[in-house]
């Protein structure tokens, strides 16, 4: 199906912003100023962009520990995200969550998650709300190849199918769970084969190809909104950085990432395709690139300058009452 110029521009803007955001975090993390665990999404942007292109604020997503891309694609404020990662009072969660717990329910973003696979169950709930309240919304769970082996994920897929929920299970098979290859940890070597086990349609796509992701997600969303139940989508691509910042990646061939960047990079391929087809011009894409760089730069500056949370914040938000 055809996408409008605006849709294409938005897609590129999202992918570039995610890339800038995480490439910059990689640099900033090395300075030691960023606390805790940070997992970078660079290399997987086409998935977040292709999936979220079909979603609005009323639709929900549940993300993972590697969630920056999902957050940005779902519309979370970049300044608030950056400040959260720095643990500042101006953070999207007031500095109490950090990179692994960025959330914004106003944008339908149910949270990154420090527990792999857990989001699939939360998404069944969001889909149940949509179905029960008749909002016509859909709910999407992002899960990694490693997380796909969590019991909760299988339970959630079966439940979504039995309850015929407007839920979509997007698996980001980026080749590794920590230092273990998905070709080893997944019996049979892929995730899409599990769709049939739960009687739902399964799609496997090249996660470096925005257009391929966008198309299968279009079908899955249509099916969900029409009340026909859940779908499974397996996207295959690889992350550009280590499992977390600091990972030496001894498990990867030296040239693996360089080759990926040179041959299958999602931004490069998107740009080639839309310019070759004359859908978008190089100039406007360049403008987006520099705009993204500027936005991330100001977000980092603002985050560094922002105040830390007041001591009183320790004792709030435990319950509604305090």
């Amino acid at each position: 199906m055809q996408q409008s110029r605006d849709e294409l521009l938005r897609a590129y803007r999202v992918m570039r912003l995610v890339r800038e955001f995480d490439e910059r975090l990689h640099v900033e993390f090395a300075t030691g100023e960023i606390p805790g665990f940070v997992h970078l999404y660079a290399g997987e942007e086409a998935v977040a962009a292709g999936v979220c292109a079909h979603l609005g604020d009323r639709d929900h997503i549940a993300s993972t520990h590697r969630g920056h891309g999902h957050c940005i694609a779902k519309g979370c404020d970049v300044d608030g995200m950056m400040a959260e990662i720095y643990g500042k009072a101006t953070g999207i969660c007031g500095g109490k969550g950090g990179s692994m717990h960025i959330a914004d329910l106003d944008r339908g973003m149910m949270g990154a998650n420090g527990i792999v696979g857990a989001g699939t169950a939360l998404v069944c709930g969001a889909a149940l709300s949509a179905k029960t309240l008749g909002t016509g919304a859909v709910a999407v769970a992002f899960t990694g190849d490693g997380g796909s082996n969590q019991g909760t994920v299988f339970e959630a897929m079966n439940l979504a199918s039995v309850w015929k929920l407007p839920a979509i299970f997007v698996f980001e098979n980026n080749g590794y769970g920590e230092a273990t290859a998905s070709s080893w940890s997944l019996a049979g070597g892929d995730i899409v084969r599990r769709a049939a086990a739960f009687a739902m349609p399964g799609h496997q796509v090249d996660g470096n190809d925005y257009f391929a992701v966008w198309e299968v997600m279009r079908q899955a969303t249509e099916r969900a909104r029409e009340g026909e139940g859940p779908s499974l989508i397996e996207c295959r691509m690889k992350r550009y950085y280590g499992h977390f910042e600091g990972d030496t990646q001894a498990y990867r061939a030296k040239d693996e990432v360089a080759t990926l960047r040179a041959e299958v990079d999602c931004l490069m391929r998107f740009r080639e395709r839309v310019t070759a087809a004359g859908l978008l011009g190089a100039a406007e894409l360049d403008a987006i690139d520099s705009d993204a760089r500027a936005r991330v730069d100001s977000a980092v500056k603002a985050a560094k300058a922002a105040p830390t949370p007041p001591a009183s914040a320790l004792m709030t938000d435990v319950y509604v009452s305090y």
Binding site: H60, D104, A121, G125, L159, Y319
Partner: protein
């Protein structure tokens, strides 16, 4: 007032809150029962123990959701639904089964609001049966409420009678925080006077079951019954026991306990849960730190031994705290 069973009290609370608020939905295994069965009934069970009986017939299958045996998925679904506009009441059947959905309770439900800086609200209730005495064996007889009391972000409610059960469940359903609601499997038939209309009993307010000046007995859930029997026996010996039923362990009514100790100077805590890091130690520690100057004798804790719950009847009876043990403990504080 009509006398009703604990089971009926729970059922009434669910029914009345579902009538009052269309966002309240029930989720659990066989809460309706009969899905796909050859009898073709809309409601074949109304819950494994009948607590949800009649709700499917009245409110329809869209609000009374049976589930596959997948606690992690449906408890997580209850959380996700609570974050997005519904007010789910999920039934986990036996609290022992929280083992298979513990992450959703401990790492998701209890922490989401805090991690998100207050941006989320999780108005949900998890109902479950607990306790020994049913000859149900080690995996179907635990209390476990100390574990949930330990976890910040959760509220823990343990009614000791049918009247409290209805009022506390109504409060739990109207509360905007996640509540774990404990129902003792050996008390489902226990009757009390229960008003027909809806009423709410506040969390964090203990019930002084009986006033007395000689010794304070704090008892949890079913142990309140045992404490009452003990108090009767003590009364025969001229000892006036004050019985305090906290009703909720998180939040805990510290003031009621401390006030009673100030009056009696003596404390016995009765807890059916395993003895290490349980509510008895929690309350005894409260006394040791906040009421030390009022105490006239060592605090006594009456709990089961540090063993799983045995199956054989005589062993299980030996395991469960009873009136005799409470009497002995109370008298020890008066030595």
């Amino acid at each position: 007032m009509p006398a009703k069973s604990f089971r009926t009290a729970i059922n009434e609370a669910l029914k009345q809150e579902m009538e009052r608020d269309s966002r309240v939905v029930i989720i659990g295994e066989d809460v309706a029962g009969g899905r796909g069965g050859s009898a073709g009934l809309e409601e074949a069970w109304g819950g494994p123990f009948g607590m949800t009986r009649g709700l499917t017939t009245q409110f329809g299958a869209a609000r009374v959701l049976d589930t596959p045996i997948s606690e992690s998925a449906f408890v997580g679904a209850a959380a996700g639904a609570a974050m997005t506009g519904l007010r789910p009441v999920a039934e986990i059947m036996f609290v022992d089964f929280t083992g298979v959905c513990f992450d959703q309770i401990m790492n998701q439900i209890a922490k989401i609001r805090y991690m998100f800086g207050g941006k989320a609200k999780l108005p949900l209730v998890l109902r479950m049966l607990y306790g020994a005495g049913f000859r149900a064996g080690s995996q179907h007889s635990q209390c476990l409420y100390p574990i949930f009391t330990h976890l910040p972000g959760l509220k823990v409610v343990i009614p000791s009678n049918a009247y409290d059960a209805k009022g506390l469940l109504i409060t739990a359903i109207r509360d905007d925080d996640p509540v774990l609601f404990f129902e003792h499997k050996a008390m489902l038939g226990a009757r009390a006077e229960v008003p027909d209309e809806a009423y709410a009993i506040p969390f964090g307010k203990a019930n002084i079951v009986r006033a007395g000046g000689d010794v304070s007995i704090v008892a949890i859930g079913r142990m309140v019954q045992m404490a009452v029997r003990a108090a009767d026996a003590l009364a025969k010996d001229g000892i006036a026991a004050e019985i305090i039923d906290p009703r909720t362990t998180s939040p805990l009514d510290r003031d009621a306990i401390l006030t009673s100790i100030k009056k009696t100077g003596r404390l016995v805590v009765v807890d059916e849960a395993s003895p290490r890091c349980n509510m008895a130690t929690d309350i005894a520690a409260l006394a040791a730190s906040e009421a030390w100057h009022d105490l006239k004798a060592p605090v006594k804790m009456v709990s089961p031994p540090h063993t799983p719950v045995p199956f054989a009847a005589p062993l299980e009876d030996l395991y469960i705290p009873n009136a005799e043990k409470i009497v002995a403990a109370a008298k020890a504080t008066l030595q």
